[in-house]
Symmetry: C2
Subunit: 426 residues, 2 copies
Amino acid sequence: MESRIVATYLIETRYPLEVAAAAMAGEQSSGTFRPLPGETPELLSRYGARVEAIDDLGEADVPSLPHSRPPKGHSSARPRRARVTLSWSLDNTGTILSSVWSTVLGNLFELHHFSAMKLLDLVLPDAFADAYPGPAFGIEGTRRLTGVTGRPIIGTIIKPSVGLTVEATAALADTLISAGLDFIKDDELMGDPPHSPFAERFGAVMDVIDRHADRTGRKVMFAANISGDMDQMRRQLDLIEKRGGTCAMLVLNSVGLPGVIDVRRHSSVAIHGHRAGWGLFSRSPDLGLSYTAYQKFWRLAGVDHMHVNGLSNKFCETDASVIDSARCCLTPMFSRPDRPDTVMPVFSSGQSAVQAEATYAALGTNDLIYCCGGGIMAHPGGIAAGVRSLQEAWEAAARGVPARDYAATHQDLAAALETFGAGAGR
Amino acid sequence: MESRIVATYLIETRYPLEVAAAAMAGEQSSGTFRPLPGETPELLSRYGARVEAIDDLGEADVPSLPHSRPPKGHSSARPRRARVTLSWSLDNTGTILSSVWSTVLGNLFELHHFSAMKLLDLVLPDAFADAYPGPAFGIEGTRRLTGVTGRPIIGTIIKPSVGLTVEATAALADTLISAGLDFIKDDELMGDPPHSPFAERFGAVMDVIDRHADRTGRKVMFAANISGDMDQMRRQLDLIEKRGGTCAMLVLNSVGLPGVIDVRRHSSVAIHGHRAGWGLFSRSPDLGLSYTAYQKFWRLAGVDHMHVNGLSNKFCETDASVIDSARCCLTPMFSRPDRPDTVMPVFSSGQSAVQAEATYAALGTNDLIYCCGGGIMAHPGGIAAGVRSLQEAWEAAARGVPARDYAATHQDLAAALETFGAGAGR
């Protein structure tokens, strides 16, 4: 079978579904709204996008997004929602990810036919796995770099996000690592500002990490935010490698696909993918793209860790959506057992020992990075007790013991459940 | 006065407006939802985002976007809409555009407080003009490269978008240039695919352009789509320069800020900014960013031409929005008269001689690129007559003569108005 790029969309339209799907296929391949001189039947059959399936989801009351237009003479038509699957020949794009982006997203969101348009899924042929290296470390590699097995990698974000001096950052890192954390990261707002230049901050934190590694034999992973201009990212990446760092963080939506791909191609460290700005694409149920489709672009580009929010988070995402996202990260994209393919989901935002049980129950694995802020810092027993409470919560989950029961013999977990649990006020 | 980054948002929230604005400021600077140990008053006053203004726009009936949460005990509160202005010290980000992106967009769209969130405007201090080169050519430079004065640069997009062989593309370019066009461009779907490799296509089209330049003394501008991985973009850019091309096209949303900035820094040709995917950010009135804010990122990154759609377009954008976008492109960003600052708006999508009069009337200038497809190809007098009809339409507009009147003595314009005008069916 010819391998094709396959994309599935949620649409809403007042056009007949077949007409609407054909408009999508035309706009995103050989055609336009009118037949063209050079658009021969041969060209169309080879390069035209194919409508593979239309799944009618029924009528909607009113158009969900404004400014769509009904077909002429059908101004009273009610919109229908549907799931539409299109496919394209690899001849249209080759295996260039930017071309795929323009092809499966591109102008679709502006077509006047539609009052909802969301890319739900994207399936890329294995040829893309030959063209892009994908994650260099993934789950196993990240465990190897951190020396953590049998439980999630437990981490935190250096806060306040901005404003700390280099010295204050290093002192905080020392406190956090002394408390037993496996992983620390810059906030996405912290890049290379005058008050905390990247090179100085990174060096100071690595000094702390190395000192602790001499003592414990384990090197804490520091996801240092290198997001910036290309030359700057390359320089900072070089610095990380030279100084023995094990991870670089990229704000994916600000760095873009070619930027992430370039960093991956020149990197020997894990790439931590932050999704700041994800709400731009996800917040409307009628517009954008699903996390399922979104994370595939970045995984192929070479990211090792993908943020997925967390259960009972401080943002507006539902728990079901968070778990779906994490499952995506843990699902292989290609039939290529020779290299890492899945990536580590990163849970963060309002996380504490409280959510471990439900997270494990929903996911069935502890292959994840679990980042807590207040859930560590605000533990009544102090930061080290906060970290222990998380280790205990995940131990309990992995053993199938309810957290409440485990807490009977584990006082740090008990204090965390008491402090952060339902009814404790959030 | 200290120069600060200033961003204005449309918000909708069930929280008191002051609380909601403070949540935005906190999330996007030093703070989180809870006070932090290191968050001293000094740090907050220096690095905290400042709420500069809150402009109450009144109550909404129901939350526009789902999953927002009201404050505790206020579940029956009705949402209010407001315009909120925040500002940040340059100390937070330095002049790194990716850091600005994370700061003014970032997590805002996911905060549970909000049922609408749109970045309306962004004002950057002149320090950014020192950090980034901005457009190398802008309006004057593009006119110089094309040799077109006193009217818009008239162009077309090579169609079918995909599927033409290199030979067929060159033959079509020959036809188009023979007909008198100033500018041709690849479709955003056409990159470097197996059936039309970039290097071969570019070379073949440049051969045609050079042949005509020998005859006419004017080199037609070819916006060749180099969007792809970084190494590939650099190679293709080198090829364009070596071969005497004058323009490279980038699909901005797929290439990303660092990619565009890098191309600009290594480029000696004009950069044509395609906005495919713009609907992701614009299609919902309650989510995303305005074109005003959007185009500032790309102009600073160094783009010379920015797509703005066109009047009576085939997409779902209103004419008023199109004109607003074009005006943005023509409005200076910085107080730096020493270099190009404004960029050429690119009109396209369903354009013909018909819209010239209204476009000129609304804009008051012909400093624009005017791309037509069917409006040239489907002219009853042929392609050359189609091009002449556009030149005549813009002549009439610049002279303040109604197109209908001018058409009395200009038959190509007359035929265009007859074929493409209101009532002719579109």
